[in-house]
């Protein structure tokens, strides 16, 4: 069952990837092309998902919006992984003062409501794509650092690691070649769920007007649509569905990977 859902998730995300890649060919209109005659027009023949306040085609905006969501998700999770995994692995492996200080920083950052910090940062830095990525990375690495540290801590006293030390392997080699491959399964699972979380956070920031202003994003469409929710619900509904499907897709994949690797661990 979990396996089937994982394939569904993979299908959704695959579709999303293709959409983002070939957006210019898929989108029927210029996503930012204003057509005031079609103000808040509902779904119809010319515009399958309708038009927004300025008459821009919603389908085209949703298609282009996938690019922002994916780029933000992948870049933020990528950067967070690099920072989190290296800091967490070093802290877990070497321990000592570095570990203590790093973990206190992690505790402090985890005690912060994440989205609030991101709102504050994006607000101070200014609303654009780069700053949203930055704001989400500031907290993004924390979870991975903590997870990897714990895993490394458990793994570093396993006998195969002691054997590698006794053979004279260097510390970097032990961490990279011996320990990390054995802690990667939970990290990848975490990263998959992380992608969903980051995309949701990006939508929230865009919804609050802190996202990039010059490109269509799902969050901003949602924000706009919220104002006309009563008489033009289609404006908010379709980007909302896109966000939901994307988050669901990544979560399905995450669940599937988790089940799969858990099974293998006990086998």
């Amino acid at each position: 069952m979990g396996n089937r859902l994982a394939w569904v998730g993979l299908g959704i995300i695959g579709l999303l990837l293709v959409t983002a890649l070939v957006a210019p060919f898929l989108a029927p209109y210029d996503p930012l092309g204003i057509d005031l005659r079609g103000e808040l027009e509902g779904p119809g023949a010319g515009h399958p998902l309708g038009q927004d306040k300025l008459g821009r085609d919603i389908l085209s905006q949703v298609i282009y919006g996938s690019r922002v969501s994916l780029v933000v998700g992948l870049v933020v999770v990528g950067i967070s992984l690099v920072i989190g995994v290296s800091l967490g692995a070093a802290a877990g492996y070497f321990g000592g003062v570095f570990d203590t200080i790093l973990m206190r920083i992690v505790d402090i950052l985890l005690a912060f409501p994440g989205i609030l910090l991101a709102i504050a940062l994006a607000g101070i830095l200014g609303p654009n794509l780069r700053n949203i990525i930055l704001a989400l990375c500031v907290l993004g690495w924390v979870g991975y650092a903590r997870l990897v540290r714990g895993q490394v801590l458990a793994e570093k006293n396993r006998e195969y690691v002691l054997a590698a030390r006794a053979l004279g392997a260097s510390h970097p080699r032990i961490i990279l070649r011996h320990i990390l491959p054995n802690v990667f399964a939970p990290v990848i699972v975490e990263a998959t769920f992380g992608l969903a979380g980051v995309i949701l956070a990006e939508s929230s920031l865009s919804f609050l007007g802190l996202g990039p202003q010059d490109v269509p994003t799902w969050g901003r469409l949602l924000n706009e649509g919220a104002q006309y929710l009563l008489f033009a619900p289609h404006v908010a509904t379709f980007p909302g569905i896109a966000i939901m499907l994307t988050v669901l897709g990544f979560n399905f994949i995450g669940d599937g990977l988790r089940n799969r690797w858990d099974v293998k661990r006990t086998a």
Partner: protein
């Protein structure tokens, strides 16, 4: 490989110890509370001394938790000793830094108890063995491949096992791969940390015979750690019996089995099922578990379970008495009668 062991034999004649351990101590702090204050110490290894000779085996016996595995890790410098000296080929290695110890790493290797945890699950058998070859500077993929094949043959696994992952092997096969990995750097001393305790009895004897055979052909020395006096007796030239961090009795294997003197050794020996009822030793079997090593009472560490305990055993440190050639006992009763 053989030339090297022969050369080693010449530099190191049998009468000087290859490895000498003196006054070795390792105390682990016990921490408690929010601020993790130290509330006491566990004396895992307490003033331990022994010697290992070229091509010989020292058996280290004791119940679980007596500190025998800690000794193995201290010698390999996987743990730092608190006190004492570890003299390898005349050089004190106990204070050496991580960098300085590196060239000596290949001299001493370890085989572990758990055949499941001791191999990296994400590396093939060949890759695990190659790690050692890499650190001794065997360059070139094909050269390493050839040596891996040779090592696998030495431990009686086909060379084609190199491409398989640990979960594709049985426990005994994994243990052989662990041995091949240890041999990859051509060590002079191998610490065998309960290498057969997790195996079936039939497999145990295969592994023990393999170890014995490798010792004969390579001249390698063993520190053989086990809780099983039977297994140790079969393989060892000298035996040290440990209890809660102390070596209680230290003797050549024949002397220890023929004429055990410490009450603890007697108790352990009487726990071995004897084929003939008349062969049984005199003492009743031990009752209870090893007491907590945390804050033990003064006096003999064995006092809580010793059938011969007297008031005198509860006062002060018990001295070590020499009772024969290379035979020492940490019990005043052997002379005090």
């Amino acid at each position: 490989m053989n030339e090297k062991s022969l050369a080693m034999k010449q530099i190191n004649p049998a009468h000087t110890a290859m490895l000498k351990v003196e006054g070795l101590k390792k105390y682990f702090p016990v921490r408690k509370g929010f601020l993790q204050g130290v509330i006491g110490w566990i004396k895992a290894v307490d003033s331990v001394a022994f010697e290992i000779y070229q091509g010989k085996t020292l058996g280290l016996v004791g119940e679980s938790g007596c500190g025998k595995s800690t000794i193995g890790r201290l010698i390999l410098k996987l743990l730092e000793p608190d006190e004492g000296r570890i003299i390898y080929q005349g050089q004190d290695i106990s204070g050496l830094s991580e960098e300085k110890i590196k060239p000596l790493r290949k001299e001493m290797q370890i085989i572990f108890q758990d055949p499941y945890g001791s191999l990296n699950p994400r590396m093939t058998a060949g890759q695990s063995i190659e790690e050692g070859l890499r650190t001794v500077g065997v360059k070139g993929r094909s050269e390493r491949k050839a040596q891996v094949a040779h090592l696998l043959e030495m431990v009686r696994i086909g060379a084609d096992a190199a491409g398989l992952y640990p979960h594709q092997f049985s426990g005994g096969q994994r243990q052989r791969i662990g041995i091949a990995r240890a041999l990859s750097v051509n060590p002079s001393l191998i610490i065998c940390d309960e290498p057969v305790s997790a195996l079936d009895v039939s497999i145990q004897s295969q592994i023990i015979n393999l170890l014995k055979e490798l010792q004969n052909t390579l001249g390698v020395s063993y520190l053989f750690i086990s809780h099983d006096l039977n297994v140790v007796g079969y393989l060892s030239d000298t035996v040290a019996v440990m209890y809660l961090g102390h070596i209680m009795e230290y003797a050549p294997a024949e002397a220890l089995y023929d004429k055990p003197l410490h009450p603890y050794t007697l108790a352990l020996l009487s726990a071995i099922p004897a084929p003939e009822p008349d062969d049984r030793h005199q003492l009743p079997a031990l009752v209870g578990d090893v007491p907590s090593p945390f804050n033990p009472p003064p006096g003999c560490k064995f006092q809580g379970r010793c059938p011969l305990v007297e008031d005198r055993c509860r006062k002060g440190e018990i001295k070590i008495y020499q009772v024969g050639d290379g035979h020492t006992v940490r019990c005043w009763k052997v002379v005090g009668k």
